[in-house]
């Protein structure tokens, strides 16, 4: 058993706003093995993106990492200086955003941007850098990369732009890629193309990946492990097939029931009542309590993350253990 590429322990990222402290990420722990894809799932405001930003060191004030550690190849990213972090970012750890225009500069040609990225971390000639950029574009499935290098971002379609953003993330063969909803804005056929590309890359290069999404179906097909977040905390984690087939936490259970699928055609969907709570003044105890059908008096005490079944952790004192209740 080799050490995982990334190990996040009790991460706390808080935003110190005038209205109070928003605990966007409050005690998140997980690890990602080499070449594995970890799906980080949650609804808006669950803290999944802030977790991603914390790992890559892009949390802006008033937010900051208030506690915990992010161990990447034995080094704690939470304690690195900005200089040391910059050395890692884009080099050993890369990020792919939902909107590729967040990565790309609209007034610079693709080759300028890619060569700059290569030379930022490697002492190579411009010609070698261009060669590397060309090869990477080819790798992510962009046809005739030589000509495309000379184009500007606006000359690409949405799907192609996202491929360029992925190519830039891959330039230095990072050990870890944090992908924040990279296919959410794309059409299904284009999303299928990108997902196929990503699968191939992880399998061939051994890159680990954190795939942040709200879409359970994408995670089902792509990831090895899954962590479900709710109100800044991970409520359940485990292997994808286990969690999706036999969810333990009532929230995961409700989330899966909410997804329209072919087995439930025409029936009323199992909906979760209410809405996600504001993180500003979270009530004590389990954050899901108010929406949970299984909640009881004992849920007023904060539940802890515990191994409920072998290899399966959940933060709940009334987990779904009965097989007949499975989703």
């Amino acid at each position: 058993m080799t050490a995982p590429t990334l190990e996040v322990r009790d991460l706390q990222t808080h935003f110190f706003t005038r209205a109070g402290v928003v605990k966007a990420v409050d005690g998140v722990s997980f690890s990602v093995g080499r070449g594995k894809v970890m799906g980080l799932v949650g609804e808006s405001g669950s803290g999944k993106s802030v977790t991603g930003f914390s790992i890559i060191g892009l949390v802006d004030p008033p937010g900051r990492i208030a506690g915990g550690s992010i161990l990447f190849q034995g080094r704690d990213l939470a304690k690195l200086s900005e200089e040391e972090m910059r050395d890692l970012r884009g080099n050993r750890i890369a990020m792919i955003f939902q909107d590729p225009m967040m990565t790309l500069n609209p007034v610079l040609r693709i080759d300028t941007q890619m060569i700059e990225t290569v030379k930022a971390h490697k002492k190579v000639s411009t010609e070698e850098a261009r060669q590397r950029a060309r090869d990477t574009l080819g790798m992510v499935g962009i046809p005739s990369p030589d000509e495309r290098l000379k184009a500007y971002p606006h000359q690409f379609s949405g799907g192609m732009r996202q491929r360029v953003a992925i190519a830039i993330a891959l330039l230095h063969e990072p050990q870890l890629i944090v992908a924040d909803e990279p296919t959410t804005a794309l059409d299904v056929t284009i999303q299928g193309q990108i997902l196929a590309e990503v699968q191939k890359l992880c399998a061939t290069t051994g890159t680990s990946m954190i795939w942040i999404t709200h879409d359970l179906s994408v995670v089902a097909g792509l990831a090895d492990d899954i962590a479900v977040m709710y109100a800044g905390r991970i409520v359940e984690k485990g292997a994808v097939s286990e969690v999706l087939d036999k969810p333990l936490h009532p929230y995961t259970h409700g989330l899966i029931g909410s997804v329209p699928s072919r087995n439930k055609r025409g029936e009323a969907l199992r909906q979760i009542p209410g809405m996600t709570p504001s993180l500003l003044n979270l009530p004590p105890g389990c954050a899901f309590r108010a929406r949970c059908p299984r909640a009881s008096e004992s849920c007023l005490a904060e539940p802890v993350m515990a191994e409920i079944l072998p290899g399966r952790e959940a933060r709940c004192i009334h987990p779904h253990l009965d097989a007949s209740e499975a989703a």
Binding site: E43, S44, S157, G159, M160, D187, V188, T189, I190, Q191, G192, Q193, L195, A196, Q199, H214, D215, L216, S217, V218, A220, G221, L222, A223, D224, V240, S241, L244, G254, L255, I256, G257, S258, V259, P260, S261, R262, N263, K264, R265, G266, A268, L269, R270, Q271, I272, P273, M275, T276
Partner: protein
């Protein structure tokens, strides 16, 4: 009259033209190769919706599904073709009759925030249209608004609030209450749940199904999400670059798709039941509707394309009872 379908579209076409500006016209006079740009957003679409049906309209960006929905809702006039509502041409109607007909089709939009006036209270958003159209008098106003809000799952106690004080799911409920306040029998939902979180999306989908039963509504449900469409619809229409490529009841489309585009679309959809598998890939991108490929629009991406597909536009015709598809392969 009663046998007439609720809605019938005959050869509906919508073109968007970009006229040349002054400089462009001069350049054209001088022989420069500038032309007016024409987008065929919707190209000779025929569609029938019967009373009580939920028809799902599916396609990727730029396929014309929203344009079609807007024409059905009467927001956008078609360039060519006729729209029949209960058997009568809506263009031929005038005065009170035309107004009446317009009210009977309402639309629910994707972005619940952009479609609500931020400076109006919920009671006015919901109550304005019925008051203007004389559906209720002043005394009944409060009770009427309360009833509409309650039906859409909103607490009438919030009726003096503004849209920004509501969450995304609640705003969508306001949009639904507003649409239903004028007592329509036909609703066009344009990506009505696309912007919502999964758990909220389920609540809204359940609301749509409940309202359909309660009020005997007919829906044209426009979405890019095949899972949602499969869940809700009785019949599914697939569009690609302005044309309908396949149409059949939901069961048939998802079990026995005929058109190669439908098949590749279904293969691309990630499903929660499918674990750790190789994603299948449709090659190529969606062509620009400014310059669509000749013949069958799908031929550059189609794995089964033949010579004929490059030149001849395939006709949408019945290949099995209740299933229509536009593909030359069906002729063989």
């Amino acid at each position: 009259m009663n046998d007439a379908p609720m809605l019938e579209l005959r050869d509906i076409t919508r073109r968007f033209e970009k006229k040349l500006d002054f400089a462009g016209r001069i350049a054209q006079r001088l022989g420069a190769p500038v032309r007016e740009e024409i987008v065929h957003a919707v190209d000779r679409v025929n569609l029938t919706v019967r009373k009580g049906e939920v028809v799902g309209l599916v396609g990727e960006s730029g396929c014309g599904k929203s344009t079609l929905g807007r024409m059905v809702a009467g927001i956008l006039p078609p360039t060519e073709g006729t729209i029949l509502r209960d058997g009568s041409d809506i263009k031929a109607l005038t005065g009170a009759e035309a107004r009446q007909m317009k009210l009977r089709t309402q639309m629910i939009f994707q972005d619940p925030y952009a479609s609500l006036n931020p400076r109006m209270r919920v009671q006015d958003i919901v109550g304005e249209a019925p008051r203007v159209h004389g559906l209720l008098d002043g005394a009944a106003f409060d009770d009427y608004v309360d009833e509409q809000m309650r039906r859409a799952g909103l607490d009438p106690g919030f009726k003096r609030r503004y849209p920004h004080q509501f969450s995304g799911g609640q705003r969508q409920r306001i949009g639904i209450a507003r649409a239903l306040a004028v007592k329509p029998d036909f609703i066009v939902c344009d990506e009505a749940v696309a912007a919502l979180d999964v758990s909220i999306q389920a609540q809204i989908l359940n609301l749509f199904m409940r309202l359909r039963k309660e009020l005997d509504l007919t829906y044209l449900f426009i979405s890019h999400d095949l899972g949602v469409v499969e869940h809700l619809s009785d019949r599914v229409v697939i569009m690609y670059l302005g044309r309908v490529v396949e149409e059949a009841d939901t069961e048939t489309v998802f079990r026995r798709p005929n058109h190669p585009y439908t098949r590749s679309l279904l293969d691309s959809v990630p499903r929660i039941e499918n674990r750790k598998r190789a994603f299948s890939v449709v090659k190529g991108e969606i062509p620009s509707p400014l310059n669509p490929p000749p013949g069958c629009h799908f031929h550059p991406r189609c794995p089964l394309a033949m010579e004929r597909c490059r030149v001849e536009v395939p006709k949408l015709r019945e290949i099995a009872p209740g299933q229509r598809s536009a593909c030359h392969l069906n002729d063989q």
